[in-house]
Each structure stands twice: as C-alpha cells, then as structure tokens.
C-alpha cells in the first residue's frame, strides 16, 4: 500500500451525498428537443457541419473541432436539425452562445459503424486521436480536450496516470455511481489510457466517504497489477488535480506550470469511462451522468442524460423543484458550481450536477460583514495564498497588488469563502479581478491592433496617391509626345 502525503489547507463541508448516493443511474426519457452549444470545452468553439433541416443519426458528427485546443460535437440522438442559433448558455452571465438545436425523432437510430480494431493494436497516437475524434473533454468540470492532454503528457514522459474518483464536491454522486455500476468499463478505459500514455502505472484515487465504490473498484482491478485503488481521506478539495498530485506523490505543481511537470497525469473517471465507450464501441461522447440533488428537489437522482437536454427536463423528471424553497440553482457542486440564469439551459459535457439548494443550504441567511482579519481563509487555502489580502486589493482595484499575491494560482475552490466567519464572497472578488485583468489585456491588444490598422490605412493612401501621381505623369508624357508628333506632322 502506498503512503499518502496529503495537502495543505482544505475544509470539511457537509457531504450531503446520502441524498442521491443510493439511487442507481437512470436514463432520462429522451426530450423532444436538444440544444447543443458549440462551445462546451476549453478553447475555440466547434464549427457546425450540418444545416437546418438535415436529418442526423445518433452519434453523427454535427460540428468539427476548430484549432488545436477544441473538440468536435456529435448528435446525442437521431432526428432533424431544427436550427443553428443563439441559446442561453449554462453560465452565470445568462448570455447566449451559438447552439445546434436538434428535434429528436425518438428512433435512437445509431450511425452505421465499422468493425473496431482492438485498441491495444493501435499506436498510442491513434488512440489519442480517436479520443479526440469522440469529442471527449475533461468531465470533472474542467472541459479541457482529453486528447490534447494525452498526447502532451506522453511527450512529457508522464509515468503515472491518476484516475480521479475523489468527487470531493458535496452533493455530487455521479462518479460514485459510475464506479459502483460500471467498474469494469472504467478499468478497461484506464488500461486504454495507459496504452495511449505508454505509462507503467495507474492510481485510482477515491475519497473514503465512498467505501462501496472503493471495494467494487478494488475487485474489478484485481487482474491488472499496474492499477491500484487508493482511499483518500475526505477533505475538500482532495479531487482538485494539483492537490491530488500532491497527496499521491508529495510533489507540488510549480506556479504557472502543469500537473504533468510532476510526472503524473490526472483524468476524471467519467473521462476514462468515455474513452472506453469510444475505443470499444465507437460511441462518441453524447451523454453523461448528472446528479440532480439539493434540498429543493423532490426526488434527488442520478441520471444518464443526452447532452443538450434542458435542466428543466431533468428537474421535471426528478419531481420538479419547490420554487419557493429554491434559493439557488447551480450547475456543478455547491463549492465551485455556476449559478444558473434559469432552468431553460442545456446540460453540457462538463455538467456533473444540477443542484437546487434551499436558503439554509446555500448559506444565504448570513449577510456579509467586514473582515476581522482572523486568518481562517489563509489556514484553509490549499494553494497557500492570502485570500484576505488579495480580496482587499481587489476591492481597492490595486491590480498589480492582486497579481503579486498570486491571483493566477487561485483555483476558485471556494474554501476561503466557506471558512470565512464574516461570510465575505472572496472567490467573487477573485473572479472580478481576473475578469478585469483579462479586460485590460484585451484592450491593450485592441489598441495595438487599431494602431496597425491606422498605419495600414495611411500606407494605402500613400500608395494610392503615388499611383495617381505616376498615372498623371504618364498621361502628361503621352500628351507631350502626341503634341510633338502633331507638330512633326504639321511640319
């Protein structure tokens, strides 16, 4: 058994996993209409390859990747493309994103598939390529294209694959259920990823509040000596990639560096499971498991949902929400989740939970009061930052100060806000500061761009004036020579 190293800080929020942990995964009845945003991943939005009115089969490519860090999209069910247009994004801003709107026909007609080769007979590159072509992105919420991560990690010489089943966010149980019910598939996906990485070892890390999942996974991986299941002490954010790497190896990811710099690569269990589906059955990422939970939900459940289904469809299937009780609607967990602008937003690849929390659960009974400098946020910050100082500088808009205190190392885990006795929304300050700094960078880029445009325009005018002058000179010369000829003729 491996010795664990642990990580700095962290908090112990009430798990609340009992609400949904014993509910087996159920399939959501197919909604009549699916809304698939073109941007569900880190990087550039996908480019649609279908047109309105076109019939598509389940699993057919509907948008291809654009650029290196991007992911394609596939039809979650068979049907007709109703339109390609803007639809509200599952994001706190409530702003629209372009989306493919698909009317399902209920036939669930799969695209014809060719017989698949054994994944282990393929080269590591080809495996990564197929993972990319299946549109698989990090399903723990980071949404980073998995293929890019795999090939970069292989080039960096990663020696250990970490399969992240920690699921440290309260309420969320989708990974727990996936591990309990589909353990063999996850182990097979792990073996496929090990082949893609050419790495000798895999660790499956699970928090000890999921003893059933740990036992089932241990039983499932008994045949494969390369894979080991580890039980982590439950403490938020044990499932964050950097903290997980530190717990397992004792190595700290350098500031501004990547996890792979330490020789370990972290993939969520959902991502590994999707890789298994793609390589064994040729099925792209078109559905995912979502936990619907929270005190305002009538019957919390774990659902297998086609991507693009509306949050409203999920909530209706779970008996609806008590409107007067629901103080906050979140996509993701209560610590890092996005507040949703409404229930008419689609489920995307990174959606692990839909939570409808009551006022008591959301902690809205406590208004924020001034900072008393108790230092609790400093104690719990897993990155070793000074949240109280950073928020003060963000409040006074001292951008250099915020940056020098390590804003870029903050991962918005929310531990500081959870620990704060004054209930100050610290992560919101950091999000505000990050947005402001990004805006400044954008404006600087724009002003250089505009300067270049003005210079080009100036150059164009000069070129035109020169061309005009030359043409005039030529005309004059021609006239002169004509005049001379006329004179000669006269003579």
């Amino acid at each position: 058994m491996m010795r664990l190293h642990g990580f700095r800080g962290g908090v112990h929020p009430p798990g609340q996993k009992h609400l949904s942990a014993e509910r087996p995964i159920e399939s959501l009845p197919l909604p009549p209409r699916l809304y698939i945003p073109l941007q569900q991943h880190a990087g550039a939005p996908a480019l649609p390859v279908v047109t309105a009115g076109q019939r598509v089969a389940k699993g057919e490519l509907i948008a291809r990747e654009h650029g290196v860090t991007s992911a394609p999209l596939h039809a979650p069910s068979s049907g007709t493309v109703a339109a390609i247009g803007d639809f509200t994004a599952p994001h706190a801003s409530g702003l629209p994103l372009p989306a493919i709107i698909l009317d399902t026909d209920g036939e669930e007609r799969w695209i014809e598939s060719k017989p698949l080769p054994d994944p282990f007979s393929l080269s590591p590159e080809e495996v990564a390529c197929q993972v990319g072509a299946a549109g698989i992105v990090g399903m723990g919420g980071a949404n980073f294209p998995a293929a890019v991560k795999l090939s970069k990690a292989r080039q960096a010489g990663v020696h250990t694959l970490v399969v992240n089943g920690a699921e440290c966010e309260p309420y969320v149980t989708c990974d727990d259920r996936l591990m309990r019910e589909r353990a063999e598939a996850i182990i097979d996906g792990t073996a496929i990823m090990l082949h893609a990485l050419q790495a000798p070892r895999a660790l499956i890390a699970i928090e000890d509040n999921k003893p059933e999942a740990i036992q089932i996974m241990r039983d499932a991986c008994r045949q494969d000596a390369r894979i080991e299941v580890l039980s982590l002490a439950s403490r938020y954010p044990a499932g964050s990639a950097k903290q997980l790497i530190q717990s397992l190896s004792g190595l700290e990811t350098p500031s501004g560096g990547r996890g792979t710099d330490t020789g370990l690569l972290v993939h969520n269990v959902g991502t590994v499971y999707s890789a298994h589906r793609a390589l064994r059955y040729g099925q792209p990422l078109i559905s995912r498991i979502v936990t619907v939970s929270g005190g305002a939900v009538a019957e919390p459940r774990n659902l297998e949902v086609p991507l693009g289904a509306l949050v409203a469809d999920l909530l209706n299937y779970c008996g609806g929400i008590a409107r007067e009780d629901c103080a906050r609607l979140l996509m993701g967990g209560p610590m890092m989740g996005q507040p949703l602008p409404g229930i008419e937003v689609p489920v995307i690849k990174g959606t692990n939970g839909i939570l409808a929390l009551t006022a008591a659960e959301a902690g809205e009974a406590h208004p924020s009061s001034p900072c008393i400098r108790c230092g609790r946020c400093v104690e719990v910050c897993p990155m070793g930052l000074l949240p109280l100082e950073m928020s003060k500088r963000a409040h006074h808009e001292d951008w250099l100060g915020v940056q020098s205190l390590g804003l870029s190392d903050c991962m918005s885990c929310g531990s500081c806000a959870y620990a704060c006795p004054s209930h100050i929304p610290l992560p919101q300050y950091f999000a505000f500061a990050r947005g402001k700094l990004a805006e400044q960078r954008r404006e600087e880029r724009k002003s250089t761009h505009i300067r270049a445009l003005m210079e080009q325009r100036q150059a164009r005018f000069e070129r035109q004036a020169r061309a005009k002058a030359e043409a005039a000179a030529k005309r004059k010369a021609a006239k002169k020579s004509r005049a001379v000829m006329v004179e000669e003729d006269d003579e």
Partner: protein, 175 residues
C-alpha cells in the same frame, strides 16, 4: 560703390553662415515628452478631446490643463498609461465600458460616407447596401457620426459577450 556692395555681400554671407551653424549646433531638441505622448495617443486627430488634434492634446497634457482621461477612443488603457507617464493620478474618470459605433440598420441608406471617413477601416459595406461596424476595429472616435446623412450611427457602450463577461465587484459595506 563696388566696395560697399562687396562689404555688405560678404557681411551677409558671413552672418548667414554663422546663423546656420548656430541653428545646427545650438539646436534645442523638440520636447521629448511631447513625442512620447504622441506615440501613446491614437494619432487620428478626431478632436473629441476638444483640442486641435492629438498634438494639441499632447500640449494640453504637458501644460496640465487636460485630464489624462481626455481621449474617449483611447479608453481606460490609454488614460492609465498617460497618467503613469505624467505622474498623475487618474481618479474615477474614464471608467465604464468603451463606447463603440453602431449602425441602425433600418435607417442606413448605404451612402458609404462613413466607411471612407473611418480612420481604422472598421466600417464595411458596398454603396446602396447596409453597412456594418466591426467592433474589434472600432475605437469609438465618432468621426463616422458627423458624416452620416440619416443619423443612423450612434456611439453605444460595448455590450458584454460570453467571452468578455466577468463577475461584477461584490457590493459590501467594507472588506
């Protein structure tokens, strides 16, 4: 007679030479700060600051009669760099989203005057067709507004998109 002409001519030549040498060797360089400010300013001489062009604005900034936030097209970024160059504080001036030109498509007659006037080629459109402003290239100088015969151009605050939206500052009594 000849002597007088010779004397005066040589005197003139000599003094002229002396003057031109003096102009060359005792030349006072142009105000270096002015050059630096002109480098920062957009240089389109739109006149929105109320001074005759960017040169006039630079002079006013050096004299201290103008605020560093005088240039609407430059926005917050320019105001900040001007303030730090001049060693002055900015205060709250120049805040808010930048104003950008927008075309009311129902009133555009496609006269193509605005596109010719735009210093950054941000407006496109063939004649007798509806024109369009590229927000990425517009700096909100407002020159196009003056030439529009139907007043269909307006400066509007830039609306946030999915890529540019960010969380607002928390409203609290104090941190």
């Amino acid at each position: 007679m000849i002597a007088a002409i010779t004397t005066l001519t040589s005197l003139g030549l000599l003094l002229g030479m002396l003057l031109s040498l003096a102009a060359r060797f005792f030349q006072v360089p142009d105000n270096a700060l002015r050059e630096e400010l002109l480098e920062l300013l957009p240089g389109v001489n739109c006149g929105q600051c109320g001074y005759p062009g960017c040169g006039g604005a630079a002079d006013a900034l050096i004299a201290g009669t103008a605020s560093p936030a005088l240039c609407p097209p430059g926005g917050r970024v320019l105001a900040q760099s001007l303030a730090s160059k001049l060693g002055r504080t900015l205060g709250d001036a120049g805040d808010g989203p930048p104003l950008l030109a927008e075309i009311d498509e129902s009133r555009c007659i496609g006269c193509a005057h605005c596109g010719k006037r735009c210093p950054t080629d941000a407006i496109v459109g063939a004649s007798k067709q509806i024109h369009f402003v590229f927000q990425e290239a517009c700096m909100g100088c407002g020159l196009c507004i003056e030439v529009c015969p139907t007043e269909c151009l307006q400066l509007r605050p830039q609306t946030p998109t999915f890529a540019t939206w960010y969380w607002p500052k928390p409203v609290l009594q104090g941190v």
